[in-house]
């Protein structure tokens, strides 16, 4: 077997971005949660919010650190492995990435130091403002990176001259057809993911009988937020699906593993798509439901993969299963929120042992849904980097050999398999210690007085 630099470069990009995306999935939500807690503490002065905030700031710091170092890797991937894509699309996407750096990264980095280390060094309002600005920074970053991603899915506002993209309308580039839906769907996904992490941690603390007051507070507020956000997310996902049907029919056909274009289409719950034979095996389907869900009309036409030449089709099996995993995880989350609401109405939310255990085990659900959703949308875009215009095969760096990419891929695998598990272990350690009630008394502005110890033997 020969080593193909194209296949290996795709694997490498998938590897580094998959690990990277799970960090924002929790830091974007946590940044907003911390800003909320700091805001309540700033206005009410109640100590409990201060303690909860400090607890989550510690977890945030570990995750944010991993998000930064895995994020620095990303822009360089465009140059090292996808140089032809960079050369062709730079006129359009580089300002988006640069504005992400200028508006988001610098804001986060500038105020993160104050948020983490500066509580005793600046006035209280300045610390609160830093928390808000870090949260705003994470959202701006999401905005710009999803503009870039969405433009690759539904390109607009450009003209193509000699294989190079040139901008014709920045409004059409930024607010391209899929961007508003993708942005809302992704931000909500990140909030929901964080919400299930916070609920899981709260359930763990309740289960272990630690920091009970703080844990009840975390669980209660987060459950109310999720009661709104999870149904909202399913609604937004449906809108996003309609948008895909309109602008990326080949992708929708691949997601549904739907070969023949037809009205009154069934919905395949399970199938093994066979790309070569252009059909599915072992199909379990519900009549009419496909048209109803995808087009909101029983007589609606669902596009089929055979409408498109074989070389323009995504490999159906991956988006087909990834999409079902995402939807499945979403429905489980909806069920959990409903159960939580029911327990709350019966006044048993904080005392139900089995519900606490369930919440602890459902912490990965959000991450699974995020990764599956991302896989659906990115593999569904294939064989294109810029949908319908530039092929993935024409985007890769021409000078690379398979061996080059194999070496770098192994390097990224080894390093990430050390770093991310170590980080997870450290987060678990912070959680196990519970909410610290030590000398974190509220401090006014001024120079620091006493040392602060996070864990026994943990340094200065």
């Amino acid at each position: 077997m020969t080593l193909d630099p194209l296949v290996l470069s795709r694997l490498q990009f998938a590897w580094v971005v998959a690990w990277h995306i799970i960090m924002p999935a929790v830091t974007i939500g946590l940044a907003s949660y911390i800003a909320l807690l700091e805001g309540i503490y700033f206005t009410t002065g109640k100590e409990i919010y201060f303690r909860i905030s400090n607890f989550w700031i510690r977890i945030f710091a570990v995750c944010f650190g991993m998000g930064v170092v895995s994020g620095v890797v990303m822009p360089f991937q465009f140059g090292t492995n996808w140089s032809r894509f960079s050369d062709a699309t730079a006129n359009i996407i580089s300002p988006m990435l640069a504005y992400e750096g200028l508006t988001a990264f610098t804001l986060e980095a500038g105020f993160l130091g104050v948020l983490l280390f500066g509580r005793k060094l600046v006035p209280r309002w300045a610390h609160f403002a830093s928390a808000v600005l870090v949260a705003v920074g994470t959202l701006l970053s999401t905005f710009w990176i999803l503009v870039t991603n969405s433009w690759m899915q539904t390109p607009g506002g450009y003209k193509l001259v000699d294989g190079i993209f040139y901008p014709t309308s920045w409004m059409e580039i930024i607010f391209n057809a899929s961007f508003p839906y993708r942005f809302m769907h992704t931000v909500t996904a990140f909030y929901v993911t964080t919400g299930f992490v916070v609920m899981g941690v709260a359930a763990y603390l309740l289960h272990r009988g630690k920091s009970r007051d703080e844990a009840r507070h975390m669980l209660s507020v987060t459950l109310w937020l999720l009661t709104v956000l999870v149904p909202l997310q399913i609604f937004l996902g449906d809108l996003h699906g309609l948008n895909t049907l309109k602008h990326q029919p080949a992708k929708l056909a691949a997601i549904e593993a739907h070969w023949e274009s037809e009205a009154r289409a069934p919905l395949a719950l399970f199938a093994i798509p066979d790309q070569k034979a252009e059909k599915n095996h072992y199909v379990v389907e519900v009549p009419l439901l496909g048209s109803l869900i995808l087009t909101h009309d029983v007589n609606g036409v669902v596009p089929g993969l055979k409408d498109f030449p074989p070389e323009d089709r995504a490999p159906a099996i991956i988006p087909f299963f990834a999409f079902r995993i995402m939807v499945g995880a979403g429905l489980v989350m909806l069920g959990l929120v409903a159960v939580g609401l029911w327990l709350r109405m019966r006044g048993k939310l904080y005392d139900s042992g089995w519900f606490q255990r369930t919440l602890i085990w459902s912490m990965p659900l959000g991450f699974i849904a995020v990764l599956a959703g991302w896989t659906t949308t990115e593999v569904g875009r294939q064989p294109w980097t810029v949908y319908g215009v530039m092929r993935t095969a024409h985007s890769v760096t021409p000078s690379l050999t398979g061996m080059d990419v194999l070496i770098s891929l192994i390097g990224y695998m080894v390093v990430y398999l050390i770093m991310f598990p170590a980080g997870l272990w450290m987060v678990m350690r912070i959680v196990r210690a519970g909410v610290v009630k030590d000398g974190h008394a509220p401090v006014e502005a001024g120079r620091p007085a006493a040392p602060v110890k996070p864990v026994p033997g943990g340094g200065s």
Binding site: G65, F76, T80, S83, F111, I407, S408, M419, G458, S460
Partner: protein, 335 residues
């Protein structure tokens, strides 16, 4: 075209890269010197002297990389594949080094491992950046719009030497920072280290300055032909002057800011020297700044925002440095 934005973008990108070299330069330098710290309390102090600001410093690496993509995409698309492995080594080293800030404090049982991750990671990232610089000065094999050489071509005696040179250079900046931020024994040790790094940097800059014109006739022509030699003579003269001032500041126990400032000025002049050698080429021997530039629409759209945002960024970055001003002490306890 109404207005030529290329000179403006050259200036912005030049400044962004220079900010990166200075800012991450000194905190990578502190990371290199970390390998020589005598004990755990000293390592705690060294790390705390940069913990609140390293993240902001590293942001300039992303801004520099994206800036090159935005302003001169053709250069980005040719150069990055050519330095595939130095970039890989730099990124992986930065991963280890970056997470060590948090992990070292949280994972006391494996502190030695994270100490090494931080110290060696900083040194390796610096070395890789030096190799990138060396490879860039040497130039690349190009056909049309692509790099056509092999991924290991950038590893040459010259680029490896520049890698070593940068180890001394960043360490000098780092030692200057430590003289500013520490006191007592640690400061004395930083002064001794600064002296060694200064001599190393001086020797390295001297050798590179002789080696470069020997490898590249065009660069020799630029510096030594008349009347260039007269216009450009202030560069070596000022370098010598700041070198003497740096040496004296390191020795002068009352001077706490001097060693850092003169080291910065020396970096400034070396940077200027490289720019003079290569201008106006952005892909040496192949494409100049105008040929590699992005579309005017792109440069205008991003330029407007950048001119507005850069001063704001500099102000609040300055503020966060101000918050953490003064000597770093064991009882400051950021962690």
């Amino acid at each position: 075209m109404i207005f030529d934005f290329v000179p403006l973008w050259t200036l912005i990108l030049g400044l962004a890269v220079f900010f990166y070299v200075l800012l991450d330069g000194f905190d990578l330098g502190v990371g290199i010197l970390y390998n020589f710290a005598p004990n755990t309390p000293a390592r705690n102090l060294l790390m705390n002297s940069i913990a609140p600001i390293w993240d902001g410093n590293e942001t300039w690496l992303v801004l520099g990389g994206i800036g090159l993509l935005a302003a001169f995409p053709l250069a980005f698309a040719i150069i990055l594949p050519a330095i595939y492995f130095p970039i890989l080594v730099m990124l992986l080293a930065l991963v280890f080094r970056g997470v060590a800030f948090e992990f070292r404090f949280r994972d006391a049982e494996h502190r030695t491992f994270w100490d090494h991750a931080f110290g060696y990671g900083s040194a390796l990232a610096t070395f890789a950046q030096g190799v990138v610089l060396g490879a860039f000065i040497q130039g690349f094999e190009v056909e049309g719009r692509h790099f056509t050489g092999g991924s290991f071509d950038c590893i040459t005696p010259f680029s490896l030497f520049v890698g070593v040179a940068l180890l001394f250079g960043y360490s000098l900046l780092g030692a200057g920072w430590l003289i500013l931020k520490t006191e007592g024994n640690l400061q004395t040790q930083a002064r001794n280290q600064a002296r060694i790094c200064f001599l190393g940097t001086l020797a390295a800059v001297g050798i590179v300055s002789i080696w470069t014109p020997l490898v590249d006739g065009g660069i020799a022509q630029r510096w030594f032909s008349w009347p260039n030699i007269a216009f450009l003579s202030p560069v070596p003269v000022l370098t010598a002057l700041f070198g003497i001032l740096e040496w004296r500041a390191i020795a002068d126990r009352k001077s706490e800011l001097g060693p850092f400032i003169y080291a910065v000025l020396l970096f400034c002049l070396s940077y200027l020297g490289i720019a003079i050698s290569l201008f106006p080429m952005i892909v040496p021997h192949h494409y100049d700044l105008w040929q590699a530039a992005s579309s005017p629409d792109t440069q205008i759209f991003l330029g407007v925002g950048t001119l507005f945002l850069l001063p704001v960024i500099l102000v609040y970055t300055g503020w966060s440095y101000w918050v953490f001003r003064g000597k770093v002490r064991a009882d400051t306890g950021y962690h």
